[in-house]
Amino acid sequence: MRRTSALMLSAILLLSLTTLWGCPKKAEVSSAPEEQKQAEPVQSEYEKRKAEEERLAEESRRAEEERKAAEAAEAAKRAEEEAAKERAAKEANSMQPIYFDFDKSFVRSDAKEAMKANAQWMKANPKAKIRIEGNCDERGTIEYNQALGQRRAAAAKKYLTDLGISSKRISLISYGKEKPTCTDATEECWQKNRRDDFVVNE
């Protein structure tokens, strides 16, 4: 099995080598007499014009190619820069979570800096769309917490739209008390769970 395939491979290689070898020779041989025959009487005139034409064509072709290459390089650079910006944004977790008081949904004064930074980020990334995820601590019923989480997400959305962000770029979801980041029965832990997460949509 292995031997036959090796044989076939070498056969193919040989074949392609001969074709490659043969081609330029053939072209040289065939083109020279043709030109001589046809262009004999007006050779100098015709030759000159043709050469000039060819030179010009070649020049413009080269210029075009150069321009394209430059454009492509620029586009690649731009894409790279954008990707780097996006990566950086993601690495910086793009937007910061904000935290709430028990059973409350207003944006606290200690969350205002984070909200301003979040709005800045959205202005710097005008194509980005985000999802605000509202969360609650465990000290409430499942259903009432779902409503509270929705209200917390909506409060953050209002804050961003008041700062000039289009509401079309923001979707909301409430997880109520279903997605705690911490499960201890302490105020420190509960505070971590009473939060809005800002997730950039893929």
Binding site: D103, E138, R139, G140, T141, I142, E143, Y144, Q146, A147, L148, Q150, R151, A154, L172, I173, S174, Y175, E178
Partner: protein, 426 residues
């Protein structure tokens, strides 16, 4: 579901005139329970396991019904084990010890199936009150015993028993919150969903055929319907934002739910296909967890309009709203009793939920659970004699039942995962 129907009720012989007597006095909480014994189950299969199973299920069902004081026949010297039904002298001897009823059952084989023959006797007269035969394969024995227990309940009260009911619930056993169903005594759990997301808030239609529930499987809390006979599922309501806390109207035609399509959560009613939306609440605060009165004319719900979550009642057209809870900072998850006289809910006491009941006019609030942990999502049994709830009193969340007054708490689920949001089938 089909299996249930495969139990064939073979004979229906009501023998003695005593069967016509209904002891209605037991409905009041203060009433005395009816003393009864279940004699040893006899079998001609020589299968002591099945014999024990049948008797254990019968005794547990009768005890859980809260109508009976289930006595130990050995202590009353009422040993009896034979293929023939017990003679009148044996029954009457029970009567002299103060028993009201004597139940006896035997198991036999018919083809590949098992037959459970159940008899109920009036202990005072020795007369037969009821005689039933149930047939099915061995796996159905538990169900047959449940059916006979319900028959005994019905003989004494005229009510339908709860021994054949089931409980839908949510568990994170697989790592994700999926929907399950089990028998009312905690056995035969079966998984119903594989959404790999978050499922919550199951609610049985009044005919027991459809389970409405909330799932995040399309990245939004949407309301779905699950046909328990065919397994068909469909989306009932998928508005942007919340579609949560479903409750069926008593006639099964409408669902009350909370939607956030207008900003905050508001109560709406809609048809089971999601059409004919009607908004009932208007406010600046959240309104969730509706529950219908048994006559279908009113809805009790949780609202934050007063600053803290409290219970309110309104008419089904949204008018005549009144607050009924004033004690405590957090009263939520109401459910109206089948007789309409009480509402059970979760009330926060020192930061943790306890189960409480209140009259619909806001009078006579009683906290009926205590101890460690949080007791949540309470619901009445179809008979109104029991309350079902979830609690993390012993570590993870489990599902518990107790008497309507808070006594006899019994845990139904193991401690291997969280079990929440129980819903009792009709």
């Amino acid at each position: 579901m089909k299996r249930i129907f495969s139990i064939i009720l073979l004979s229906l012989l009501i023998a003695a005139p005593a069967a016509a007597q209904f002891y209605l006095g037991v409905i009041k909480g203060e009433a005395k329970k009816i003393p009864i014994v279940v004699l040893d189950v006899f079998d001609d299969l020589s299968a002591p396991d099945l014999r024990k199973l049948a008797r254990d299920v019968l005794q547990a069902d009768l005890r859980r019904s809260q109508i009976f004081d289930v006595m130990d026949p050995k202590k009353l010297d009422l040993r009896y084990s034979a293929a023939e039904e017990p003679p009148a002298e044996v029954i009457k001897r029970g009567g002299t010890f103060g028993l009201s009823g004597v139940a006896w059952a035997s198991l036999s084989r018919r083809g590949g199936d098992i037959v459970l023959t159940g008899r109920l006797y009036d202990a005072a007269t020795g007369l037969r009150m009821a005689s039933r035969e149930y047939i099915g394969n061995g796996e159905l024995l538990r169900r047959m015993a449940h059916t006979f227990a319900d028959e005994i309940v019905s003989q004494y009260t005229g009510e339908r028993g709860i021994a054949k009911t089931r409980i839908a619930f949510v568990s994170d056993k697989t790592g994700r919150k999926e929907l399950y169903v089990m028998d009312y005594d905690g056995l035969n759990p079966k998984r119903l969903t594989a959404d790999r997301s978050i499922c919550m808030s199951p609610a049985w239609s009044p005919d027991g055929k459809i389970l409405a529930y909330v799932s995040y499987k399309e990245k939004n809390p949407d309301l779905y319907g699950l046909d328990m006979e065919t397994g068909r599922r469909w989306k009932i309501s998928g508005h942007e934002g919340l579609n949560i806390s479903p409750a069926w109207s008593p006639n099964g035609k409408r669902l009350a739910i909370a939607l956030s399509r207008d900003g905050g959560a508001e109560i709406y009613t809609l048809n089971r296909d999601g059409n004919d939306l009607e908004r009932l609440t208007y406010g600046i605060a959240d309104n969730v967890s509706p529950a219908w009165s048994p006559n279908g004319r009113e809805i009790v719900f949780t609202s934050g309009r007063g600053g803290t979550p409290q219970l309110y009642i309104m008419s089904v057209d949204g008018s005549d709203v009144r607050r009924i809870t004033f004690d405590g900072n957090y009263n939520a998850s109401p459910h109206w009793s089948p007789r309409g006289d009480r509402i059970v809910f979760a009330s926060q006491v020192r930061g943790q939920f306890k189960i409480a009941t209140i009259a619909p006019d806001g009078m006579d609030m009683r906290i009926i659970t205590d101890g460690p942990g949080s007791d949540e999502n309470p619901m009445w049994s179809p008979s109104g004699r029991q309350i079902l709830f979830s609690s993390n009193r012993s570590g993870k969340y489990g599902i518990y039942i107790m008497n309507a007054d808070g006594t006899d708490i019994e845990r139904l689920t193991p401690n291997d995962a969280n079990y929440t949001s129980p819903a009792w089938s009709p």
